[in-house]
């Protein structure tokens, strides 16, 4: 009985190892970047980031800077468009924040420290300045597979990953202040769309947590959405709810925007802004 248990246990262990090996060999390349937002200031002009290669093969990483902040269209779709040159934004830190090294091969299961240095122009007005540090990575092993038949054609598509991390340089007196211009809520079929129109009135990006609660006429919560937001200038933000089958009719939406509750940003790096609360009635179409 014991022998049979041992055999079964070893068989399971071997099976597990085989599964893990098959998964890890399947992965071509991977790159971990930390942190997800970097802060520099007139008091701390240097900073460090970590990149890590969690796979079993080397990864080649190139590092450069772009400019891109979250922007929205009239429907509240948010995107970050990265620009490498011809950036005229007065809040751009492109060109005066540097990273070292700029090219590195990270061996399997190893980490690499990347150092950032800010050399801002003199007499920079108070506020926050932005750039995105981009980590472009791919497997360092890029041999092409030879065709398996004479006269055949074979293909290889190199999978390149780019991770763009926001870098913020702060100087002087800093103010975070957000204004909610308008809240619209529409209900169509089993969908409820919330559209928030916001404007940043401060001189730093407003970072906070947006909580939307969809309530019925008795004040009972039907659905809830909680997300991190960053508003740099004007931003329209859409939140979509899909009503579950048999749910009560939605009546109103409670909206709260708060600088509290961010777990991805150290408290010491938060420039705490105002808190906004509002209620909007659902308009059924």
């Amino acid at each position: 009985m014991n022998t049979r248990n041992h055999v079964r246990r070893y068989r399971n262990v071997i099976l597990l190892i085989a599964i893990v090996m098959s998964i890890s060999s399947h992965i071509m390349a991977s790159i971990l970047v930390a942190p997800t937002v970097v802060f520099l200031s007139d008091k701390a002009r240097t900073q460090r980031m970590t990149i890590q290669n969690p796979t079993d093969g080397p990864v080649e990483v190139s590092i450069y800077f772009s400019f891109g902040i979250p922007e929205s269209d009239s429907l509240g779709n948010i995107s970050v468009e990265l620009k490498d040159d011809n950036v005229t934004d007065p809040r751009s830190a492109l060109g005066w924040i540097k990273a070292f090294p700029r090219k590195v091969v990270v061996p399997a299961q190893q980490s690499q420290i990347i150092r950032l240095v800010a050399r801002p122009p003199e007499n920079l007005p108070d506020g926050e300045y932005w750039a995105r540090i981009v980590f472009s990575s791919q497997s360092a092993q890029t041999e092409l597979p030879p065709p398996t038949e004479d006269g055949a054609i074979t293909t290889k598509l190199n999978m390149i990953m780019r991770t763009a991390i926001q870098v913020k340089y702060r100087t002087g007196d800093l103010v975070a202040n957000l204004e909610l211009n308008q809240t619209g809520v529409t209900h169509e079929g089993n969908k409820v769309h919330v559209l928030l129109d916001m404007t940043n009135r401060g001189n730093v990006s407003y970072m906070g947590v947006l909580t939307c609660r969809l309530l019925d006429s008795d004040g009972e919560e039907i659905l809830k959405n909680r997300s991190n937001i960053a508003i740099y200038r004007d931003l329209k933000r859409r939140i979509d709810f899909t009503l579950p089958e048999g749910s009560k009719l939605p009546y109103k939406v409670d909206v709260e925007i708060s600088p509290d509750g961010r777990t991805d940003v150290p408290v010491t790096d938060m420039i705490k802004g105002n808190k906004i609360k509002t209620v909007a009635i659902v308009e059924t179409q």
Partner: protein, 186 residues
């Protein structure tokens, strides 16, 4: 046997004596340093992007187009993991052709408006993709702006089509598929 055991006891006694002597002459401050030692750790938020599988057409033949659907086992898979529910902008840069590595020829490749899917369950399995798991059969050149990182990660699946001509030169062809990931909420 008896002699061996005796020498073993003697050796242990000598080692014990040396240890006691070392303890006696060691400055007391070292013991204090050990006692007041502290460990610090900084927790950083992180994002991981993984090229889990390449878009693999295998061998293709002159004059025969080859296509791979985004729910096929040979579809490309990118995986993004990080803070759950964080909003991300995903942006593909896709090639229009593959180049013969020895030069001299190229082969067209296309991506249709339904060639991508975003699976917020992080399943990393194109075959199990369903509309309830995120965005199915969406445009790789205009990925949804409300994409988020799922609690187990988010997988992006990509299919495509290659067009070897009737006179396509045999050999190995390559091109780059680039996925850019940017956080919206930082």
């Amino acid at each position: 046997m008896y002699i061996g055991k005796q020498s073993h006891i003697q050796r242990r006694a000598i080692i014990l004596l040396v240890v006691l002597l070392l303890l006696a002459v060691a400055p007391p401050t070292e013991a204090q340093e050990v006692a007041i030692g502290t460990a610090t750790a900084t927790v950083l938020s992180a994002v991981t992007v993984t090229a889990t599988a390449a878009l693999a057409f295998g061998n293709v033949y002159q004059g025969v187009t080859a296509s791979i659907a985004n729910n096929n086992a040979s579809a490309a898979i990118f995986t993004i993991s990080g803070q759950a529910n964080a909003g991300v902008t995903l942006y593909f840069q896709l090639p229009e052709y593959l180049t013969l590595t020895t030069g001299g020829d190229r082969m067209n490749i296309s991506f249709s408006a339904t060639d991508a899917s975003i699976d917020t369950t992080g399943a990393n399995n194109p075959a199990t993709m369903a509309g309830t798991k995120g965005w199915q059969d969406t445009d790789p050149r205009g990925l949804p702006s409300t994409a988020t990182i799922g609690s187990a990660g988010t997988s992006v699946y990509l299919g495509g089509k290659v067009y070897p001509s009737a006179f396509q030169q045999a050999g190995s062809y390559s091109a780059d598929i680039i996925l850019t990931v940017s956080y919206n909420g930082t």
